[in-house]
Symmetry: C2
Subunit: 223 residues, 2 copies
Amino acid sequence: MSKRENISMSVIRRLPRYYRFLTHLKNMGVTRISSKELSERMGLTASQIRQDLNCFGGFGQQGYGYIVSQLQEEIGNILGISHEYKSILIGAGNLGRAIAAHMATAVNGFRLCGIFDNSPQKIGISLAGIPVQDIAALDEFCRREKPVMAVLCIPREAVGSLSDQLYSLGIHSFWNFSHFDLSMKYPDAIVENVHLNDSLMTLCYRLSDCGQPEEKQSPTGRG
Amino acid sequence: MSKRENISMSVIRRLPRYYRFLTHLKNMGVTRISSKELSERMGLTASQIRQDLNCFGGFGQQGYGYIVSQLQEEIGNILGISHEYKSILIGAGNLGRAIAAHMATAVNGFRLCGIFDNSPQKIGISLAGIPVQDIAALDEFCRREKPVMAVLCIPREAVGSLSDQLYSLGIHSFWNFSHFDLSMKYPDAIVENVHLNDSLMTLCYRLSDCGQPEEKQSPTGRG
DNA sequence: TAGATTGTTAATCGATTAACAATC
DNA sequence: TAGATTGTTAATCGATTAACAATC
């Protein structure tokens, strides 16, 4: 866990995948692995794996390789998965439901402690054992429970004013599923965006890549 | 739409964001924009925007800038959003439900035409107006409808054998929400992964970054 | 025309890969 | 010890930024 200074996002984004792979190997009964073997299984270069790991410390042994269980645990610590950061979810729609179920089951460093919505049809129901509260109760709840992260599963239009409220209540990190640009608004906030539609559109691009689209001969052009 | 050769994923992943921003500007009544102004609004450099756009052609006018509606339409064409690629969804759990709802509403180049699950409780219900079919009906359905993309909202364990079936039925592109490594298995497949838990873990890392974790003094060590 | 802003080439920066001495 | 594989430095590659001539 030692060094950890100015680690690039490229490296950080690979850590969960290492963690998953090592957990899988551990479950399969593999006790020892070299960077070469791991690289072949993961489709990376051995150099990159060693380079990545050495951002955080030397976890291997020359001539031997890495102990799977040890390395898995180290990366878990680096990621901070044994934390239980208090978090709330805003928006109990289809996506909110899925995320609540996800956060309740997977171990990931966060504990969901409150869900909020503004629709009377949603208020009172439970998702993953947590009751959906009226958004009007948000202030009081946050002052009492002091959550540090908010999951935003609400439409773009709703985020503008709500994010101000959340930010002033001390929530400065967001798992953002909306299209609202939080990191533009709060430069010091920690924002992780999940843009499902953007993701799908890149898939569309790659499918279209071979044949020309050509369905629209757009008759645009400036005066 | 012209050039389009060896466009890097870095560029491709920015396209949907350009598209969103331009759509927004258009809706706000903005008709004309320079790369400088757009860069300030999006938190990029003007150089990057011009560089990105010029991968596909010259859409601007020197001394004037870009016509918002025209550029928006061009990027839409580049992404291929007017396609209606037939797609199927496997897994009608919480996440499957959310994705079905999403794909039914947003315009994104795909048309969801079938949903499959293996649970008797799910078979027969409708998601976004589409009935959930028994996974046993998959072969017959695919031979008739010829979908080209599959959304995978099933657990890792289920993907191994199912992906073989899908691949042999001519489905070579996947929107993959599972942790199964499809691109390792089918190097020629087009795979877009959405790993929600990985995303959340990077957020956890960044939150943990300031204070040391130190809750576990792991007593590991070899031989 | 003069001013503005593009398209494009060159310079810089960062990330990945290769090489190799250290060492288990 | 000899063989293997790490940790780390150097070389390469790619992506971003800066600069500027072209031109509307």
